[in-house]
Structure formats: structure tokens, C-alpha cells
Amino acid sequence: MSDSKLDLLQGTLDIMVLQTLSTMGPLHGYGIARRIEQVSGNEVLLNQGTIYASLVRLQQRGWIAAEWGTSDNNRKAKFYSITKRGRKQLHEDAAHWQRLSTVMSRVLSMTESEEV
């Protein structure tokens, strides 16, 4: 089954993280990873550990902010939340992806009979 899961590109994971935070509010790393897995219907091949590289990238760009808190099982965890700039970026990226997927599906469903 692993070969039918989609390999995630670096940039796409970032967008997924932003989206997750935008919808779910502040979450820690584990929570984000699990959420992405669930939402994608377990179709996404994700080494959960890669989330942390993504998180630090987003932090450095100022799209998410981090705060130390306590997790459900009383352990120290960093909770991430999306910033205003992050929301804006998410908006733009989401629009971009929509356009891209529309164009791609149109091109891929091209048949011989299409008029130029």
C-alpha cells in the first residue's frame, strides 16, 4: 500500500500545515501530523518527523508563531498557530493550487478530437 500513497513535496507540506492550523487553531507537532494524515484519508505518505522541518521553515518566514505549552499527557510541547501573514499566504497559495489543478485536469483529459 505504501507505493500507492503520494510522496509529498516540500512546499505542499507547508501549505497543508498552514491549512491545518488555520482550521484547527493552535496545535502541537503531533497533532498537526495526525490531522493531516486523517484528513487526507491516509492517502498521504508522511514521515511524521518531517513536519518539524516544515514548522521551522514556516516560523522563519513569519507565517506561524510558536509557544510552549502542555500537551494532553502533561508533557512540554510547542504549540503552533497561524499568523495574519500566514493566513494571507495560505489564501494566495490555495488560490494558486486551485488554478493549477484546474489547468492540469483539463490538460490531462485532453482527447484527440479537441479543437485547437
Binding site: N47, Q48, G49, V56, Q60, R61, G62, A77
Partner: protein, 894 residues
């Protein structure tokens, strides 16, 4: 997109803290995952395992995190360097030896390069130095390398030149200078008004001399040289405008100090001041102005704008040839008068070139030795680390990653070596500059400059790249070597051979350096062993320059006679005399050779008149120096102006002129055309005595043809010689006091025993020996370490073999001998190839370097012996280790 590069750089510095935070996050993550898995009903073990699987490898996550948060390339480099540092710290002996070796190699090379660059390549201070020429007139037919020019000759040459803009002239003359503190004797350059413009120099204070100061009617003016102004006058700005008095044999003249010259290379001779013509009565005399054969002036020329060097050369040669044909009586064909025209830059460096390039070669050799030694050490270590590399390669490290790790290690070593090397280089540069300043005025005062830094860095980079690629990385097959636990046995023949080649290279280079140093040492020892002749060691020589200010010639002579009388009355004085030159020190005065003829003498120079050294001495000179009068008598008070002219000649001259006969009472007369310029007549003179030869120009005496004239008959004074009963230097205060009582402003300078004078002459030879000896010593040291390293490695890789041998009954001393022989073999091959290489390169060098002599057999044999002995010493420790190998341990260790 690098929106926040600042944060990334920050992340570099907060590395540890960020790592710690990430660790916390990851452990929380894993615990949460585990709990979820437990909730799903997995067993604790399964829960943990699944959590890890889902996470995907914490190490990977950490790496990615680090990469993402900072500049990945730099971070990788920093990581490599930190890891390399740790590896190097774990083998301190290796690291220290490697760093020291590199420091020596890089330091020496940077120092040499600094000196070479400063002397050969740095542009001169003169403006447009490419267009500044130096003219030299020589007469090889009479063995004269530089006869300089006379005023009529300069006028002929400079008359109508198109390709030359201007000629500038300089002649040097000794003055006594009063008016600037203590009266002192100085050397001055007397120049014409164009000199400074031709040379393209500028003042740092005031102005320089220009055409206004030219001619017999100008006011006296002088420019101080920078060195004189800073060293002796301590950069005192108030000297500007002061009036000084310059005294020479022909009179004293005033001069105003108009400026200070910029720091510039003094050529052809170093002077304290540069003055205009009017300060030297001699320069205005008819002798100087009209005497075609009165040559004492150096000539410089500036190429006219638009003309080339070739055109200038051609024109000068043509004009010169015209002059030669116009005066055939003066320029005799047998004497081969010629001129050479060269760029000032080439001229200044001509003597230094060969020496410096030899030095360069020596230091390059040292660098090779140092690098190959470190390469040796690294190679030996790498082979032991083969399993480590095999493991890392099996874990996914590509060859380039391993190379990077090696590069990081060698970079660290080389960086440390460079830093240490630059510290070493500073004193080296001073020593080398002092050495080189004997051959080139440009090395004077050379200090460490930034070029050393850059050379050091360049060398370090080159070395580190070279060293990183030296070790053989395990290939794919070698990863199967994982199965082998110890590192020694699978040593490939290739790396072993490399080690041996490195060791042999070092030995060869060391041998060459040692042999060279040995040859120099031998020359030095020969020179130093030469005893000063006639117990001249304890004779004190003092400069007492003639002050003609307001005195007649008779009064000057009386003064020196009085000085002689009063000093001889001082306690502790055995003999006193005066004269014109101090043996071995006054190279200018000692160089005076004049032709003469003697009635009834044998022909010793073919058809030409023979030439002898001219010396002017007072009565008592020979007694002062301890020279016996072989025949006839010494000069006495009756031999003065107006009475019969007398001379004393040296023994060899007497034998050659009058073989088998008595030379006393014969007559000779001077015939040299120069004599009329120096106030010596051609009247006949009677030989009244014969003394042994005194070679006062060379350390190792040769047969010397000398004619001595008394100071009182057309002679010259200026020097005092005192033979002391015990300590010569103890007499100095009383001598100075006595003379000052007689004349308050008489300079009394440079009191020194003749022994010390001779020792000072040997300074360049000493420096030679020190520098090369130093190099050779360094090379030997490094090579010993190198040989020891090779042998140690060889021994450790043959542990098993030794174990087997001992188990089979070999005695420890057999093994010991075996290892020692291996060491000797390496050294022997090195020496042989060194001898071969030495002869080959000696023949090549002999073509380019004049006076190049092969070191004799003794230095070669001694050097070989030293190296073989060193090889034995280097072999001792590894040999002992080999011999004390426990057979069982050895067999078991594989």
C-alpha cells in the same frame, strides 16, 4: 525564498539550544503517538515500534530541521569542521606533530616569499621606474667592472641625445659634517641639478635639489636621506634650514639643509646627505671638470617620452663609440672600454636574483618535505581508519561526503599550521631580510607584510586539498572489510608504497639541504679559522677624518704627528701610527691600485706597466701591526715633503721586480694617469725597505703587491692605529679625551680592533651558514619524524607477521635488526637519490649562477652520515615496539 536570512544566521549560533528544544518536541510527539497506539489496542512494544515507524527516524528529522533552520551549506561545513576537530582531538600526538610540521613549512615559505617579493618584485619608489636607466662604464681589459664616468665623458655622451630626456649624475665623497650635533664623518652624494628629476623622487620635507642649485655660483644646499634623518637625527623637523659645514680634503663649505628625501633605495651607494656641486671644491676643480680620465661619477638617464629602451640603448652606444674613436690615446683598444645600459630595477636586483631564487628553491623543498611528512602521517592514520570509513560508506555516506570529512580535517590542520606558521614567519623575515640586504639594498628594513598572510593561506589551501586527496578511500569491495575487525592486516600494497615514497622524498630533500649547508659551513669555518696576520688582532683602529677647516696642509700633517706623539705617551699603548686606510674595513681606500715603473725591474705584466696597491702610512705603521722590516728601514721623521721621496714595498713585489737581487736603493716612479688627479707626482722614489706581504683586502691572504708611501710625502691621513699592551678597548676613552683636548671638533669614530673588523666582514658568510643551516636542520627534524612515522606504521601493520616469526623461534633482536635495516634502507635510497639529484641540478645551476661550486666530498659524506644516523634514531622506537610484540597477542589480534 529567504525572507528571513537573519533568523537563519541567528539559528547558527543558537544551535545547541534549538537542538535541545527539538529533542523535547520529538519526545513529546513520540509519547503522544505511543499513547494513541495503546488506545488502539496495541501492546506497549508494538505501540512504541509503530510510533517510531510512523515518525520515520528521529535522526533524519533532526537533520532536516537543522538544514531547514539555517544556511544549509554553511551548517554542513560547520558540522564537518566540528566533527573533524573532535577526531583530531582524539589523537593529540598526530595533530600536534602535523600542525608543527605544517607551521614550519608554511612559515618558512611565506617568509621567503615575502622577502623575494619585497626585493625582486616590489616597484621602486622612483616614479616611472621603467623609464629610469643606469649607465655603467667598464674596462674588462684592465679588470675593471665599473670605472664610472668623468665629466668630459658625460658631456660627450649627453650632448645631443634624442631618446634620452635628461642625464642625472651622482658621485660620492666623504665629508666631515659639523653643525648637526656631534661632528661626524658622513658619506655624501654630490649631484647635478637634474639628478632628482631624473630619478623621479619626491621630498617628504622641504624640497629637493633642482637646476637652480647647479653650477659654481649657486648657494650650498643639501638634502638629507630619509634613513639618516630618522635614525641619526630622530626625524627632527627643525633641521630644515639649518646651515651645516661640509669639510673635505680640499676645503670646507657651508650648505643649507633644504629638504629630506623620501624613503628610497640608495643606489649605487648609501649616503647620508645629497648635496650640490658647490659644496665640494674638488668637483669644481679643473681636474674634475677637464680630466677625461678622472672618473668618479655615476650616471642615470631618463628615457624621453615616446622613445623605447632599445632606441635609447642604440643611441647611447652609438654616441659612446663615437667618443671612443675621437680619443684613441685615452681609450686604448686593449682595455676594452664599454658601456652597458640597463633599467634601474634590473640593475639593483642583479646580484640578488640568483641568491633569492636559490633560497626560494630551498624553501620549496622544505614545503615539500613538510607536506609529504604530514601526508605520510595522514596516510598512516587513514589506513587504520579504514573500517570506520567502510562503515560510514555502508551507512549511506557517499565518497564525496567522506572526502569532505577528510577535507575538513586537513583544513583544520592546515589552518592551525598556517596560524602557527605566520607566527614563526615574523622573525624569519627579519633574519632573511638581513641576509638578503647584503645582496640588494631593497631588502634593508623589510618586514613582514600582508603578502605573507596571503601566501600562507594559499599554501594552506593547496596543502589541505592535497592532503585530503592523499588517502585512498575504501572502494566498494572494501565495505566488505567490515567483516575484518582490526585495521592492520588489509593494508594494500599501494598505500604502503606511497608511504615509502614519501619518506624517501623527504630524505632526499633533507640530504640536499644538509649538503648545501655543510658546504657553506665549511667555507665559513675556513674563513674564521684564518688567523689575522702578524698579531693584528689587538690593534685598535680609529677613524680620525681630516678636518681642513682653516688649516694648511702643513698644519694638518703636524696635527696627525702630534696625535701620534701624544697617544704613544698614554699608559697601555705600545705603538701608534696613522695612515689613510684601516685594513679590511675601508674598502674604498683599499681599492686604489696604480701603475708604476721601476728602473732595472723584470717585466711582470707583459708590455704594460705593473700595477700595485697604494698605501699611505706614517712611521711606526709596521711596528704597530707587528710586521718586521725585512730589508732596509722604516719611514722616519726625515722623510717629509721637500726631502728625498722614498717608498717601502712588499716582499712579493720585491721578488717579482728584482728576482734574486736586493730591491733596496732601487728607484720606481708612478706612471698611472690618475696620479695627477690625486696629487701624486711622477718623480722618482727610492725604495728604502721591504716588508712582508699584508693582504688587507681579503680574509684569506694572497700574495699582495704593495707600495707604501709616507703620509708626509704626498700622502693622506685620516686613520689611527694603536697597538695596546692589554685590552685595546680600554684605551678608547683616553684616546678620545686626548684628541679632543687637541681639537674640540675633531670626529673620533668607529674605534674597533682589527679582529672585530675582520669578524664583521664575515657576517654575510655567517648569515649564509645560519640560514641554510637552519633550513637543513628543520628539514632533518621533519624527515626524522617522517621516517619514524613510516616505520611505526609499517611495524604496526606487520604485527601479525612478527608474532608468527617469534612463535617460529625468531629472537627479538632479529626483529629489531629487521626494522632498523628497513629504516636504513629508506634513508640509503634517499641519500643516493639526493646525491644523484644534487649533481644533476648542480650542473644545471652552474650554468646560471656564476661562482657556483660543488660542495666538497666531506660535506656530502658528513650529511649522509647524519641522515643515516637520524634514520637509526627514528627507527629505534618502532623497532623496540616490534621486538617486544607478544607473539600470542599478535596472532590473536587479527
Amino acid at each position: 525564498m529567504n525572507v528571513h536570512p537573519f533568523r537563519r544566521v541567528l539559528a547558527l549560533f543558537r544551535g545547541k539550544q534549538l537542538d535541545h528544544e527539538l529533542d523535547e518536541e520529538i519526545s513529546t510527539h513520540l509519547s503522544l503517538a505511543m499513547e494513541e497506539n495503546l488506545r488502539r489496542g496495541m501492546s506497549p512494544d508494538e505501540a512504541r515500534r509503530q510510533a517510531l515507524v510512523q515518525f520515520g527516524g528521529p535522526q533524519q528529522a533532526k537533520e532536516n530541521h537543522r538544514e531547514a533552520r539555517s544556511l544549509p551549506v554553511l551548517d554542513g561545513v560547520l558540522r564537518d569542521l566540528r566533527f573533524a576537530a573532535r577526531v583530531l582531538r582524539k589523537s593529540p600526538a598526530f595533530s600536534i606533530i602535523a600542525v608543527l610540521t605544517l607551521a614550519l613549512g608554511i612559515g618558512a615559505n611565506s617568509a621567503i616569499f615575502s622577502v623575494v617579493r619585497g626585493v625582486l618584485f616590489r616597484p621602486l619608489a622612483n616614479q616611472d621606474e621603467d623609464r629610469l636607466l643606469y649607465l655603467r662604464q667598464s674596462a674588462p681589459g684592465i679588470g675593471e667592472d665599473n670605472v664610472t664616468f668623468s665629466v668630459p665623458e658625460i658631456q660627450d655622451l649627453g650632448g645631443h641625445l634624442r631618446s634620452i630626456k635628461e642625464l642625472g649624475t651622482l658621485s660620492s665623497i666623504d665629508f666631515t659634517l659639523t653643525g648637526l650635533g656631534e661632528p661626524r664623518e658622513i658619506r655624501a652624494g654630490v649631484v647635478d641639478g637634474n639628478y632628482f628629476q631624473v630619478m623621479g623622487l619626491h621630498p617628504v620635507l622641504g624640497r629637493l635639489l633642482n637646476p637652480i642649485d647647479d653650477g659654481p655660483n649657486a648657494a650650498g644646499a643639501a638634502v638629507l636621506t630619509y634613513r639618516f634623518w630618522t635614525n641619526t637625527l630622530h626625524s627632527d623637523r627643525s633641521v630644515l634650514g639649518k646651515v651645516i659645514r661640509l669639510g673635505s680634503q680640499d676645503g670646507t663649505r657651508p650648505a643649507t639643509i633644504v629638504g629630506v628625501l623620501q624613503p628610497a633605495v640608495p643606489y649605487p651607494v648609501e649616503t647620508q646627505i645629497i648635496a650640490n656641486i658647490v659644496t665640494s671644491p674638488h668637483h669644481l676643480s679643473a681636474t674634475m671638470v677637464t680630466g677625461r680620465e678622472h672618473r668618479m661619477t655615476e650616471v642615470f638617464a631618463r628615457i624621453a617620452p615616446g622613445a623605447t629602451l632599445e632606441a635609447a640603448r642604440a643611441e647611447l652606444h652609438a654616441t659612446y663609440d663615437a667618443m671612443l674613436s675621437a680619443h684613441p690615446d685615452v681609450y686604448k683598444p686593449a682595455e676594452h672600454f664599454t658601456i652597458t645600459v640597463s633599467r634601474i630595477h634590473d640593475q639593483i636586483n642583479s646580484k640578488a636574483n640568483a641568491i633569492l631564487w636559490v633560497l626560494f628553491a630551498a624553501s620549496a623543498l622544505l614545503f615539500v618535505i613538510a607536506c609529504s611528512n604530514v601526508a605520510n602521517l595522514i596516510l598512516a592514520r587513514t589506513v587504520r581508519r579504514e573500517p570506520e570509513f567502510a562503515l560510514r560508506s555502508a551507512l549511506g555516506a557517499s565518497a564525496s561526503v567522506l572526502r569532505r570529512a577528510l577535507l575538513a580535517e586537513s583544513l583544520l590542520l592546515c589552518a592551525a599550521g598556517t596560524l602557527a606558521g605566520i607566527v614563526i614567519a615574523a622573525p624569519m623575515v627579519s633574519l632573511l631580510a638581513q641576509y638578503a640586504s647584503r645582496f640588494s639594498a631593497r631588502a634593508v628594513g623589510l618586514t613582514l607584510d600582508s603578502s605573507v598572510l596571503w601566501t600562507g593561506v594559499a599554501l594552506a589551501l593547496a596543502a589541505s586539498v592535497f592532503l585530503a586527496f592523499v588517502p585512498h578511500l575504501p572502494s566498494n569491495e572494501a565495505s566488505r572489510a567490515l567483516g575484518v575487525s582490526s585495521g592492520g592486516s588489509r593494508v594494500s600494497g599501494g598505500s604502503h608504497r606511497r608511504l615509502r615514497i614519501f619518506a624517501v622524498t623527504q630524505i632526499t630533500a633533507s640530504f640536499l639541504l644538509l649538503a648545501g649547508a655543510g658546504a657553506l659551513l665549511r667555507t665559513l669555518l675556513a674563513l674564521e679559522k684564518t688567523q689575522p696576520p702578524f698579531e693584528t688582532a689587538r690593534v685598535l683602529a680609529v677613524n680620525l677624518p681630516v678636518m681642513t677647516d682653516g688649516r694648511s696642509e702643513e698644519q694638518v700633517l703636524d696635527f696627525y704627528r702630534d696625535v701620534q706623539a701624544r697617544i704613544s705617551g698614554l699608559p697601555g699603548v705600545e705603538h701608534v701610527s696613522t695612515g689613510f686606510t684601516v685594513p679590511w674595513r675601508d674598502s674604498f681606500g683599499l681599492d686604489i691600485g696604480l701603475t708604476f715603473s721601476a728602473d732595472g725591474a723584470a717585466r711582470i705584466n707583459g708590455d704594460e706597466d705593473p700595477r700595485a696597491h697604494f698605501r699611505s702610512v706614517s712611521p711606526g705603521f709596521f711596528a704597530t701591526l707587528g710586521m718586521p722590516i725585512l730589508e732596509g728601514r722604516d719611514f722616519n721623521a726625515n722623510d717629509r715633503d721637500g726631502n728625498e721621496r722614498v717608498v717601502i714595498i712588499s716582499q712579493t713585489l720585491a721578488k717579482e721586480l728584482f728576482p734574486g737581487q736586493n730591491a733596496v736603493n732601487r728607484e720606481m716612479r708612478w706612471t698611472d694617469p690618475v696620479t695627477k688627479f690625486i696629487g701624486i707626482s711622477n718623480a722618482p722614489r727610492r725604495i728604502i725597505g721591504v716588508v712582508p706581504d699584508l693582504d688587507d683586502q681579503n680574509i684569506i691572504p694572497r700574495p699582495f703587491l704593495t707600495v707604501y708611501q709616507p703620509t708626509t710625502q704626498e700622502g693622506w691621513n685620516g686613520r689611527l692605529l694603536v697597538r695596546a699592551k692589554s685590552d685595546p678597548y680600554a684605551l678608547v676613552p683616553s684616546i678620545v679625551g686626548t684628541i679632543r683636548e687637541m681639537a674640540a671638533d675633531q670626529p673620533v669614530e668607529r674605534a674597533s680592533t682589527l679582529e672585530d673588523v675582520r669578524a664583521e666582514i664575515l657576517t654575510p658568510n655567517r648569515l649564509n651558514a645560519v640560514v641554510f643551516g637552519g633550513f637543513a636542520g628543520l628539514a632533518l627534524l621533519i624527515s626524522v619524524v617522517g621516517v619514524a612515522g613510516v616505520l611505526a606504521f609499517s611495524v604496526s601493520s606487520r604485527t601479525r607477521e612478527f608474532g608468527i616469526r617469534m612463535a617460529l623461534g625468531a629472537q627479538p633482536h632479529n626483529i629489531l635488526t629487521n626494522v632498523l635495516l628497513e629504516g636504513l634502507a629508506i634513508a640509503g635510497i634517499g641519500v643516493l637519490s639526493g646525491v644523484f639529484l644534487g649533481f644533476a641540478s648542480a650542473r644545471a645551476t652552474g650554468k646560471y649562477v656564476a661562482d657556483f661550486q660543488l660542495p666538497g666530498v666531506l660535506p656530502l659524506v658528513l650529511s649522509a652520515a647524519v641522515i643515516l644516523a637520524a634514520a637509526v634514531i627514528a627507527s629505534v622506537l618502532p623497532a623496540i615496539r616490534a621486538a617486544t610484540v607478544d607473539a600470542v597477542e599478535a596472532l590473536r589480534s587479527e
